[in-house]
């Protein structure tokens, strides 16, 4: 493993300050977006509805990127299945949103969601119990990804599966979950997943107020996640993680149980991803098994690689910039955007092993 990982960039204090400043400025601009949205459309600083809406989505992606960075950039665990944790978190909240529709569904059934009614189900499956309560759903959005990561991690780390093998196993996990969630018999709405949500915590979802509230919820969660990750990576645990990444067996001989170290960070990372998914679903209004597709997970890993892994700012930068490019190109060059995005991935891995953040570091060394 040792040769494959980048070093944690250690920035000179001034650079660190600039990065921190950038991070704060970015978060501040985000915080102001819904307010700028209130300005009249012809005002110079007006932010359109669309930008507010995609920024909300990107923040959720940024949480996923943060989660991946924590596991990969710091602990060297490259999971190609983090999209699964994200999707599971989304499904948990999605189930809550479906329960809240209640009798407002097309068929007016008091309990069953529409898709169950027209597939001829008569009873709510047991695993849907409790999801009418928001705290329970939120708990599940964190616990289910956490438990799955715990189980998978425990099995894998215990038998010392690392590197490429771990990546392939996590990829198989998300693939298997995708196939499972595509099945209508699972009771999760099959290919269509969940849509047509009505309200959350008493707010009508299709209103500007609800969108602003969700936006700030995402912003707060993202900021919280950044703070948490920052605290973690700066603690001794963070240094142990880096040590595990660079020379796992050496850490073991120092008396650390690398299984529990890796497991705890993997579980935490999965829960962060789950939280991102939980915020994502009410913002975009749909969750379906496509989120489990292995390609999605790989793409999320690439955001981190593009931004610069092993730094928190890098993960955020990657998530925002790649998604912004994608949003732009899928409209600007609908036939050619895959070339541009694919080319970007190739170029970054070849020329910028430390991502965009690495550029800054290079500048510093000169």
């Amino acid at each position: 493993m040792s040769a494959t990982t980048a070093e944690t960039p250690r920035l000179r204090p001034t650079r660190a300050l600039i990065l921190r400043g950038l991070l704060l400025a970015g978060l501040l601009i985000l915080a102001l977006l819904p307010l700028l949205n209130r300005l009249p459309p012809d005002h110079a600083l007006h932010a359109s509805d669309f930008i507010v809406s995609v920024s909300g989505k990107w923040m959720c992606y940024a949480m996923l990127a943060l989660a991946i960075d924590l596991a990969w950039g710091y602990a060297g665990i490259l999971s190609l299945g983090h999209g699964a944790f994200f999707a599971l978190g989304g499904y948990a909240i999605g189930m809550h949103l479906m329960r809240l529709i209640g009798p407002r569904g097309v068929y007016g059934h008091p309990v069953l969601p529409d898709f169950m009614v027209f597939l001829g189900w008569t009873e709510l499956p047991w695993y849907w119990w409790g999801f009418q309560f928001f705290p329970f759903a939120l708990l599940m959005a964190l616990a289910v990804p956490g438990l799955l990561a715990g189980l998978l991690g425990w099995l894998a780390f215990r038998s010392r599966i690392t590197g490429v093998y771990l990546s392939i196993i996590t990829q198989a996990m998300t693939y298997a979950l995708m196939l499972a969630f595509f099945r209508n018999d699972m009771g999760f709405g099959g290919n269509n997943g969940f849509t047509d949500f009505k309200e959350l915590l008493g707010m009508k979802l299709n209103t500007a107020g609800a969108r602003a509230a969700l936006f700030y919820a995402a912003l707060l969660s993202l900021s919280g996640a950044v703070l948490l990750c920052r605290h973690l990576t700066r603690s001794k645990l963070g240094r142990v993680l880096v040590a595990v990444r660079d020379a796992e067996s050496r850490v073991r001989f120092l008396g650390y149980s690398t299984v529990s170290v890796k497991l705890s960070v993997f579980v935490l990372s999965a829960m962060l991803a789950g939280l991102g998914g939980a915020l994502y679903v009410p913002l975009v209004g749909i969750i379906n098994p496509g989120e489990f597709s292995p390609g999605n997970s790989i793409e999320a890993v690439i955001w981190v690689a593009v931004g610069g892994r092993g730094t928190l700012v890098g993960a955020l930068l990657g998530a925002f910039s790649v998604n912004a490019v994608k949003t732009w190109l899928t409209s600007f060059a609908p036939d050619l955007w895959l070339f541009a995005l694919g080319g970007l991935f190739v170029a970054v891995t070849l020329f910028l092993p430390r991502g965009l953040i690495g550029l800054m570091r290079k500048g510093e060394e000169r």
Binding site: S2, E7, T8, R10, H231, L232, S235, K236, L237, R239, V240, V242, A243, R245, D246, A247, S249, R250, V251, R252, F253, L254, G255, Y256, S257, T258, S260, V261, S264, V265
Partner: protein
Amino acid sequence: MKAGTLYLDGVSVVFDGFRALNSLSLVIEPGELRAIIGPNGAGKTTMMDIITGKTRPTAGTVQFGDHDLTRMDEAAIAELGIGRKFQKPTVFDALTVFENLELALKAPRDPWSCLRWVLPPAARRRIEATLAEIGLADRAGARAAILSHGQRQWLEIGMLLMQEPQLLLVDEPVAGMTDQETEHTAALLRRIAGQRSVVVVEHDLEFVRALGEKVTVLCEGAVLSEGSIDRVQNDPRVIEVYLGR
């Protein structure tokens, strides 16, 4: 069994039909400094792997005090007080010298404690003392990646010291060192012994002589000869193994 005694009895290891250790028996008393030599493939590194839990023996007993090491994993054995320095120095390149030592410092090792860890002043002083001892006091803030080969060896020995082990296993500590560095290392190891047992695996007979302690010769996975360096060097079987074929 006396606490701190390492006790190997009849240990065999077979890899795909190849016998790396062949009924090896060895006792290291607390506080003893022992050099182990032997030709390539004699089983020196495998022996270390067995003691530190990296490899499981096919047969035999491995005990440290009252603990059965064959039932414990690397981390648990390390926590028990057995430290190991690898042949190729492995320090954490991405961390500073100080942080390397801090990681090795004897302290609760579970993730939660690591997360809440604040370096106590006493521990800081210990780290600083060790830095001085291994001659890296002025490099404390430097990343380990930029250290010279010798400095890395010392840093690793320093990390072992921070672990406060009862038994230290040192694999070829002076390979690739200059004479001056070798001397410095020998002195360092002699200083360490006395408080704890040290097992040194080494090719360099001059270095072993400089250590001036009991020597065990391994060959084909078993003990060939044991005693002072002079005695061992005059043992005909040893001469045959080293010079014969």
